[in-house]
């Protein structure tokens, strides 16, 4: 018995000390708490801590039943006390992290998400690991104590009739404990003395896990509001966007730097490889054909096979037109839909259409374009006539 108590003490001691260690570790690098990994790990740790707490309470109950002869089960009380300390300290630890972040200032948030350093990661993971071990050992203890408790009365008095399957340890038993179920036979003790159209009511205790779950949700709410609206350590929706855009830009730059996608309207050249032209054609027939017809003869959009161009007919002009669009004329920007290489392929395909004979060509629009002279951007094109006048109608 004393061995058992010692081990319980030891476990409880570790449980109480470890999270403090984690706090100390986190100390100098408070901003790591912003990392989603850290948050997830902390949540897991907190949940496990709660599970340990519940399990420990069960252990205390069982131990009490078991140690009737020993007057004061100080050891088990100690366990629960220590566990309580552990639990509250781990919660406190989170709070502390949050508050310190506030001091750090929120400008940092806009930087890319902070990765969790490997030391912190391993500390958190080991905390969780230890918690799991504690949980398993406590459950094991509960299990063995339960068995002992059930066997005891059988040995002591043979009158106890309910010795069948129900007495054995089972999930059902744990389930009953978790909900602090009252045996159905004892229902009469907790029955309210009223009935409504034959409906009677019991006054069972609130299921403990439910009640603690409720408390946790409330704590979550307070911490959440604190984090996002008092300490501002959590990013706002718009800051999240800034972070995402920043990251995306870095990734994209990194990728483009070492790929043939690294083209823009100044460096683009016409591609002539059959594979590139085919790739361009594929996109053209699926997307561009809606306005320009599959053979480039035009429809809603201008004819692309003739010599006349609204915004210039060089590879650079076409690349630019596709990339940025001419929104007021109905040509949308495609730079977010297709990569520079794809746009280069599309533009090259469009160039290849020049001089072909479409089925129903649209009348020429724009200026006659000659290959040699690179036309400057047509400034007169920027007319937002339609929209301006419509709004102007409203006084």
């Amino acid at each position: 018995m004393s061995m058992k108590n010692k081990s319980i003490k030891l476990i409880a001691f570790f449980a109480a000390v470890l999270p403090l260690g984690a706090l100390a570790q986190d100390g100098p690098k408070m901003n790591e708490a912003k990392s989603p990994q850290a948050i997830a790990l902390c949540i897991i740790a907190a949940l496990l801590a709660l599970a340990i707490y519940v399990a420990a309470k069960m252990l205390v109950q069982q131990a009490k039943a078991n140690l009737k002869k020993i007057k004061k089960s100080t050891a088990t009380k100690l366990v629960s006390a220590l566990l309580f300390v552990f639990l509250s300290s781990s919660l406190f630890a989170q709070d502390a992290v949050v508050t310190d972040d506030a001091a750090a200032g929120k400008t940092e948030i806009v930087k890319a998400a902070i990765p969790l350093s490997s030391t912190s990661f391993y500390v958190l993971v080991s905390v969780i690991g230890v918690e799991i071990i504690i949980l398993i050992s406590i459950i094991g203890q509960v299990k063995s104590l339960m068995k002992a408790n059930e066997e005891a009365p059988v040995a002591e008095n043979a009158i106890a009739v309910e010795t069948t399957e129900e007495q054995l340890f089972s999930i059902k038993k744990i389930w009953g404990k978790l909900n602090s179920f009252k045996p159905i036979q004892e229902e009469a003790d907790i029955e309210m003395s009223h009935d409504y159209d034959g409906i009677r009511e019991l006054d069972n205790r609130l299921p403990p896990w439910w009640l603690y779950g409720f408390y946790i949700c409330i704590i979550f709410a307070v911490v959440y509001l604190w984090r996002f609206h008092v300490s501002h350590t959590g990013p706002s929706s718009v800051q999240e966007l800034e972070i995402a855009m920043h990251q995306a830009e870095e990734q994209r730059a990194g990728f483009l730097a070492k790929s043939k996608n690294n083209v823009d309207e100044n460096t683009v050249t016409q591609l002539t490889e059959a594979s590139d032209i085919d790739a361009g054609k594929k996109v053209f027939t699926s997307m561009c054909a809606a306005c320009h017809a599959a053979d480039g003869g035009g429809g809603v959009g201008p004819n692309l096979t003739d010599d006349y161009w609204l915004h210039g007919g060089s590879i650079k002009d076409i690349f630019k037109t596709i990339t940025y669009g001419w929104p007021d004329k109905g040509m949308k920007s495609w730079k977010d839909d297709y990569s520079p290489l794809q746009i280069q392929q599309i533009a090259s395909y469009v160039m290849s259409l020049h001089g072909t004979k479409p089925a129903t060509p649209k009348e020429p629009q724009g200026d006659l374009y000659k290959e040699a002279g690179a036309t400057a951007a047509d400034s007169s094109a920027v007319k937002d006539s339609a929209l301006k006048t419509t709004t102007a109608l409203v006084k």
């Binding site: 309210m192 709004t391 006084k395």
Partner: protein
Amino acid sequence: MLKQKDTIGGITVPDEVQEKLAVERFYYDNKIVKMFAYATILWGAIGMLAGLLAAIQLYLPGANFDTAETTFGRVRPVHTNAVVFAFVGNGIFMGVYYSLQRLCKARMFSDKLSKVHFWGWQLIIVTGAVTLLAGYTTGKEYAELEWPIDILITIVWVIFGINMFGTILKRRESHLYVAIWFYIATWVTVAMLHIVNSFEIPFSAFKSYSWYAGVQDALVQWWYGHNAVAFFLTTPYLGLMYYFLPKAANRPVYSYRLSIIHFWALIFIYIWAGPHHLLYTALPDWAQSLGVVFSVMLIAPSWGGMLNGLFTLRGAWDKVREDPVLKFMVVAVTCYGMATFEGPMLSLKSVNAISHFTDWTIAHVHVGALGWNGFLTFGVLYWIIPKIFNTNLYSKKLANTHFWIGTIGIVLYVVPMYWAGFTQATMWKSFTEEGSLTYQFLETVTNIESMYVLRSIGGTVFLTGVFLMAYNLFKTVKSGSLVANEAAEAAPLSTHQVIAHSDKHWHRWIEKRPVQMLVFSLIAVAIGGILEIVPTFLIKSNVPTIASVKPYTPLELQGRDIYVANGCYTCHSQMIRPFRDEVARYGEYSKAGEFVYDHPFQWGSKRTGPDLARVGGKYPDSWHYNHMMDPRIMSPGSIMPAYAWMLDKQLDTASTGARIRAMQKLGVPYAEGYDKIANQDLMKQANEIKNNLKKDKIETSSTAEIVALIAYLQRLGVDIKKSGDAAPLQ
């Protein structure tokens, strides 16, 4: 039994008092229960058929039949309104009229009011369905019915309230059972939600504009919308559960104190959670956060109801295996538990970023609607009909078959929807290494079309079960005869009540006082609404104004009303969230100040089609013209219905002035007297569009509806693109 003898009406009465009390004989009104039960079955079948049609339209555009009335945007609101207010509504009244009489030991307050309530509600449903199909809608989800029907709803709801309270006040039972607490809270909260959300300015016999605009309209609407789920689909059904489940199981309710805590916590917390429908929108961040945390705190109170239901079955699980009524109820309560756990998870911003605007929401809703509301209603029907017809259920076997078919139907419905939602969200958010969007919007739709097919199969299976039930109940009715007036006996409430020891619980005080119960419930539900809505209205910084945002032109306003009338918002959002993918796909994220003239707001809740917040100027007029005529010309593979009839239908220009005047009353800054000259401006702009279309070889009448709609679409989101200098456009 001994105890039964000593208690009358739940109160322990000493012998000497007992002698003085004369036992009264009275009759329960079963006829009204029967009427509501029949209405429940009828509207259930109709509402689900409408849903099935809408589901099929999503993969067979031809099923829209090329007429305005049968097009998805109008069928979908009919489906949601029919299922919520007709099926579940009648289900609530059926259960309340049955249980309230018995829990109060009294006949309904007035048979006449019961009848007026019944027929009034059916009138609302029929006029509602007809007007929605005819295109009269407020454009606010689940509150689509127009102002005359809103008034009718208010009147009928008050009649229901008088009838309910009349019954409660003349009860022969001193205390109110937990089911009645839920009924009272339901009544008062629905009244509050309906009235506040329905503030609107009518400009014609059947059309109005929402009193609120933009962000504020959105907040009020989702405060309403979310709590319509809470107080129309949840609390009254919890009340039904508290009566019918222990009755059917013949077991005592698990925990009285759990009832108390979860009841008050539920109604208090639920009301705050509305903003979780608006995460990452232009709603101020603080309101969004309140929506998040209150949703999370809602888990426990919701689960309190589930636990009290399921634990009541302790010791009765052997019965569950036998009795179809209990089977339905167990699955219903389990679905309730799943949906109320999933809801708070969907309210976490990181999850919501994926789930919102996708079919995930549809799946979530249908776990609740098919599982919780559907199955609980079926369970109650299978229990009530044999009781009031004094007979046995025609076929237990058929009811069991219904149970299994229904369950399979639910699974077949929701699993494809979860799959579709998750897949589509992932595709939306996918970028290539070059940093461009991996998928065009249309590709993400065609990719999940097979899921839409599966979903409609699931729906069909579920509906088949409903028909089986209708047949089974029809046969049951045939085999018995209605006990229209069921005799009962109870002693009247005496002034000389003796309080039993167990009645010393603090909560027993309010259980004897229905009026206080009503007032306290109202206070509990009013707090959250007031604290969220009032600051959003009063504090300027919540909706920063943008100088370049101007009111709609008369033609655009007409176009907007066409957009609303045809339920475009059921598939298209107008809210670009601050995500990398949405900014890349649709443009700059939406700002609160952009919506200040939007009565009603049209942010939408589902993106079956792409967002339209910045569609203005993206395509030429002729693109829109062709696209509306047949979407598949411009986007092959599109599932959007064709709106060819819009090319011919003429605008109602006679009402332009009335529309402008209504907007002026709402504070939209049109110049004084502008209503009289509005049509001149309208024609000018219409002719511009007409000429524009002519350039692309399209001939159209300048007053065709399509012209106004194009004007509206081309205006969407363009104001903000103008710089500060370009602003003075007076």
